[in-house]
């Protein structure tokens, strides 16, 4: 699924065996991998491609589509002055993605936030609990099937 135009890109090349999809839009490179490969991809990105910083981790809920959730990792290389977006998908029934905290410690809070707002479980995370919402909160507000209004509180 990697388009021809991106075959020569060094970042795509480094992740060629893991990537399931890649695109280059709006001057931004996006590479998608399977959930089980994402940690390995991140590790390569950090070590081989010198992306020192994980800028953010977040999710996107594509409700009717299955696998429903996209988990999006934004990375920045200060040395190379470039940015990269990694993506993986998680199914709607039991969304689970391996944690990135072993590679980037900054993923800790971002994954907690994603867990809190989307209900995506990051397996292996040291402290998987809500961060924004109160502890006893039911539901995950950023899911598309979570109502905007209503007597939820």
């Amino acid at each position: 699924m990697i388009p021809e135009s991106l075959q020569g890109n060094p970042m795509v090349a480094a992740l060629a065996d893991l990537a399931t999809f890649a695109k280059f839009e709006f001057n931004e490179l996006t590479i998608e991998t399977a959930p089980e490969n994402i940690v390995e991809a991140l590790r390569r990105v950090k070590q081989d491609l010198k992306f020192e910083r994980l800028t953010s981790v977040t999710g996107v809920d594509r409700l009717p589509v299955e696998p429903r959730y996209e988990v999006v990792y934004h990375l920045q290389s200060v040395a190379g002055n470039s940015r990269l977006r990694l993506k993986t998908r998680a199914s709607g029934t039991n969304p689970k993605v391996p944690t990135a905290t072993l590679v980037y410690r900054s993923a800790e809070w971002y994954e907690r936030e994603t867990f809190d707002l989307f209900g995506i479980n990051f397996t292996g995370h040291p402290d998987m609990r809500r961060i924004m919402m109160p502890d006893g909160w039911e539901g995950h507000p950023l899911r598309k099937d979570y109502p905007i209004t209503g007597a939820r509180y």
Binding site: V78, S106, D127, I131, M132
Partner: protein
Amino acid sequence: MSNYSGISNPTDVHRDHQVHETNGSGHRTMVLNMGPQHPSTHGVLRLLLELDGETIVKAAPDIGYLHTGIEKEFEVKTYQQGVTLTDRIDYLAPLSNNLVYCLAAEKLLGLEIPEHAQWTRVMLAEFTRLNSHLVWLATHAIDIGAMSVFLYCFREREEILRIFEMFSGQRMMTSYFRIGGLALPHPRGWQKRVKDFVDIFASRVDQYEELLTNNRIWTGRTKGIGYISLEDMLDLGVTGPMLRAAGLKVDARKDTPYSSYEKFDFEVPTRTENDVYARYLLRVEEMRQSHKIIKQALEGMPSGSHQADAPGIVLPDREKMKTQMESLIYHFKIVSEGFRVPEGEVYQAIESPRGEVGCYMVSDGTQKPYRVHWRGPSFGNLQSTSKLIEGTLIADVIAALGSMDFVLGDTDR
């Protein structure tokens, strides 16, 4: 008598996940619940501190007290309406947030913004930086006990807010930058207002420095405090002045210039000491650089339209709207249902006063964003709290927290 060790105070009973007594070492420690209502946590940050005497053994920040669901709200507002939400995220740097949101949407739309609007954006973004840094310096100084600096800084901030009010009609929640340009053309007499400010500001910064920079107590309280290694900072997602105070020259204004920042002559100051004092000096220097940028923007402000030439996206003039049918239709359509944005996803990062603020915008081709993720700099910076303050004294916690310059609205969104 209650027992001071462990969490026995009734206020402590909830959310005490991480901090507990470490009786194993034989030391009796005390858990101090700092915040969410504490004068030095600048809002509603809660810190659980485990203390041995006055030394912090373990610190666990607890956030989320100001979570307002802004990201969810973006999804039910049209693109243009979303601008008003961004002000509320980081209420000390509203225009930076306006800017990143507009830039992201404009990237998706492929809009070309006129020079005039771009320069105004730069000028006001730098004013925002000054505004934010002034509040930071004021609160940081009063945290360390220098209370006069607080009022001196607010004196200048007041002037900046007046300038904001002049441009946008609002002091804090300006929403002045809109997708496609600016909300309003420049007000009459803005040059004089800005020039008055520019003329006086440099000497005012000297005043603050005179009170603090060489003050023995100030240096004693700030030098060597709040050290965290550069590797840890990168690993924990810290951005902005904290990184630059560690010697890493990273600034989106230089690295990936946006809104014609490349046309301005300014330096990105860095320091290497990587402590509270270095961050203080760095921010003061940043204020001087912002002053320089504002001066250039004032002197070289190009003339032109304040909005892009994109009839379906920007609101037409009142004049045209009342004379031309087409404009009236556009106006009606934009106001009632917004405009469609092509499908795609972008991540736009700019340099806010606090660090990298990023806007990840996903569009599904409708009038409303499918998903907006806000990468607030405070959220990333706050992750380093534990690392920053463990092993220091309580008084250093105040100094170190102050040097991070976080805004809880930005953290919790």
